[in-house]
């Protein structure tokens, strides 16, 4: 790669694009430290909103729920989604085309529709709405995303490495654990990361499938801002942005250590 610098106007343009994306978030972060209760004028620095936040039982409960749902649904949907991707890569069977397209429909259909249908479904089989139903829903909408990401990684996967492993004496299971999985791990990690973030901030589907006591953070925030955006919400959002940022960073580092450098 050449070390050529982009033209000045290009650099300004890029700067503006980034500002457009990050300026609102920056404002939000700044106002979370504002002493003033209304988000219009900067008054002075304070951490009181964070204190309020950490003492808000509802927020703590919502955070707990959100994390339980996100972790459970991420793990399960990553396993199922990865296996689906492997199956689609490896086998050709009658109805292959249908299986492939139907898997991705949930990515396209409106979330509201999916939310309503899941609600109807849970009602019809008599499941009580709560953490369980939310988790099931999140697993459902996460699977296609995981499969999509893992399939992208599988594209160009050299099947002969699996054959080599078997040739060297590894049975199917050992081959999967020792060779297949480590090779596609970066894809699986990105899939899991995507599933985790999607689950963290899902509002619509969660709204339809939540029951009493299973409020998640997005639901909580929406109910908090029904009247006004308080600095407490700003503080909560700031912490959230920070969390997502850290998760992404960990993902990046994990991926980098997974895929060896191209350099000689």
């Amino acid at each position: 790669m050449s070390e050529k610098k982009p033209a000045l106007w290009l650099r300004i343009y890029a700067l503006l694009a980034y500002a457009y994306i990050y300026f609102p978030i920056l404002i939000l972060i700044i106002f979370s430290f504002n002493t003033q209760k209304i988000n219009v004028r900067w008054e002075g620095f304070t951490l009181q909103w964070y204190k309020v936040l950490f003492n808000d039982q509802n927020v703590i409960l919502a955070t707990r729920n959100t994390l339980i749902i996100a972790f459970t649904s991420t793990i399960i949907s990553t396993v199922i989604g990865t296996l689906a991707a492997l199956a689609l890569q490896r086998y050709r069977f009658p109805g292959y085309g249908a299986a492939e397209s139907l898997l991705y429909v949930p990515v396209i259909i409106p979330e509201v529709v999916m939310g309503i249908s899941l609600l109807a479904f849970f009602a019809s089989i008599g499941l009580t709405l709560g953490l369980g139903t939310i988790t099931l829903s999140h697993i459902a909408f996460n699977i296609p995303f995981v499969t999509l990401v893992v399939r992208a990684r599988l594209h160009g996967f050299d099947k002969s490495i699996e054959e080599a492993a078997m040739d060297l004496g590894a049975n199917e299971l050992t081959t999967f654990w020792r060779v297949t999985l480590p090779t596609i791990m970066p894809g699986v990690l990105s899939g899991a990361l995507l599933a985790f973030t999607l689950s963290l901030d899902d509002y619509v589907i969660t709204y339809f499938t939540a029951g009493p006591g299973s409020t998640t953070l997005p639901l909580r925030i929406f109910s908090m801002v029904r009247f006004a955006v308080t600095p407490e919400v700003n503080a909560l959002s700031t912490l959230w942005v920070l969390t997502v940022f850290i998760v992404l960073l960990i993902g990046q580092i994990a991926q980098r250590s997974q895929s060896p450098q191209q350099t000689r």
Partner: protein, 378 residues
């Protein structure tokens, strides 16, 4: 120890064709490979070499027929239970493991102790001249080095048979030649049976003890390099191995050792050796290799010494090409036939080109044992 290291008995392999019907990749192949032999499967692209090898390795199962490894029928034995190892064309190294871990993988699967693994891996790396590279990742090695890792990884298991699918295919010509010699030396050193797939006839000729020539799923001829080259059993083998000239004619007379063929389109008659069974009047193909013909001027004729041998014909030079070691000449043999003739430049004359001028009228001769009479294929 059984008689053969590997035996294919009437093996057929058919694949379903995506467009409907079936493809016969291997058609009633019967091969017997001896212990310690360097055996090559040679043939053009798509002739079923890889499929044959994969059936021995256990990645594919024969549609019919049976494969024996050291006398034991393999049936549907999975690859990890067969005493053979494969060197893949793509090397198929595990990118997430170091070179050491790659080579150690097979031993680990056998449950070999840590100490012995270390010793054997190091010995294997030394054998392929990669000592000290154990801690690198495959991507940090050159193509030739990766190839050696693949080799070490398979050899460290001490298999009864090593299967190699065009292992040098991805290397440049110079490295390829080097590795050919190394591989051959290595095979002699370890004494393991090698089954070597290649579509490069020169590679097969230089390395193999025996070669099986395949085309369209059929095994056409099995023999030592000399036999395959000097006594091909059909037109395809004669054409595929080395270069040759084909002439067409009809059997005129047969005696126990020689056949006389009268060529189409001229009055000329060739005496050659029959490779197959012939009857009088049969349509045949005659194969003569370019280096087996001699061009000479009419001096011997002028001084009254008639060449008291068959296969002497007047010809006309069409053009010559000087390529250093050889001069390659195209001659007009009459009857609309052009032949390639290669002459070795064993004299250091600077005027070889002047010797054969286009249009020059000269003579050509070939010994009957170098004139191969083959059946015309249906």
């Amino acid at each position: 120890m059984s008689q053969f290291a590997v035996e294919l008995r009437d093996v057929v392999k058919r694949f379903p064709n995506p467009g409907g019907g079936e493809i016969t990749a291997v058609n009633h192949a019967t091969l017997q490979i001896n212990h310690g032999e360097f055996f090559s499967l040679l043939g053009p692209s798509g002739c079923g070499k890889t499929t044959s090898l994969r059936m021995v390795a256990g990645f594919e199962w024969p549609t019919s027929g049976e494969i024996f490894i050291d006398g034991k029928p393999m049936g549907r034995t999975p690859p990890f239970l067969r005493p053979v190892n494969t060197v893949f064309q793509s090397y198929a190294l595990f990118q997430h493991m170091t070179i050491f871990q790659n080579v150690a993988f097979g031993l680990e699967m056998e449950g070999v102790s840590r100490e012995e693994t270390r010793r054997r891996v190091e010995a294997a790396l030394e054998m392929v001249q990669l000592t000290g590279m154990g801690s690198r990742k495959p991507r940090q090695l050159s193509g030739g080095q990766q190839q050696r890792v693949a080799l070490a990884r398979a050899l460290v298991k001490r298999p009864a048979v090593l299967l190699l699918d065009e292992p040098l295919g991805a290397l440049d010509l110079k490295l390829r030649k080097e590795m050919q010699l190394e591989l051959k030396a290595l095979q002699e050193q370890v004494g393991i049976t090698f089954i070597y797939v290649t579509h490069d006839q020169e590679e097969a000729l230089t390395m193999s003890d025996r070669i099986a020539v395949m085309n369209k799923g059929n095994v056409l001829q099995i023999g030592a390099p000399v036999e395959i080259y000097e006594r091909p059993n059909c037109r395809f083998v004669a054409d595929f191995i080395g270069e040759t000239n084909f002439l067409f004619g009809k059997v005129k007379a047969i005696d126990p050792d020689f056949v006389i063929v009268s060529l189409h389109g001229s009055e000329r008659e060739l005496v050659g050796i029959p490779l197959g069974k012939f009857y009088s009047g049969q349509e045949v193909v005659v194969s003569v290799r370019p280096e087996k013909m001699r061009i000479f001027d009419d001096t011997p004729l002028k001084i009254g010494v008639t060449p008291n041998q068959p296969n002497c014909f007047p010809i006309r030079i069409i053009n010559t090409m000087y390529i250093g070691s050889d001069t390659r000449i195209v001659i007009d043999f009459g009857g609309g036939t052009q032949l390639k003739v290669w002459e070795q430049n064993h004299l250091s004359t600077l005027d070889t080109l002047a010797y054969y001028a286009p249009g020059q009228e000269l003579w050509v001769t070939m010994r009957p044992e170098n004139v191969l009479i083959l059946p015309q294929e249906e």
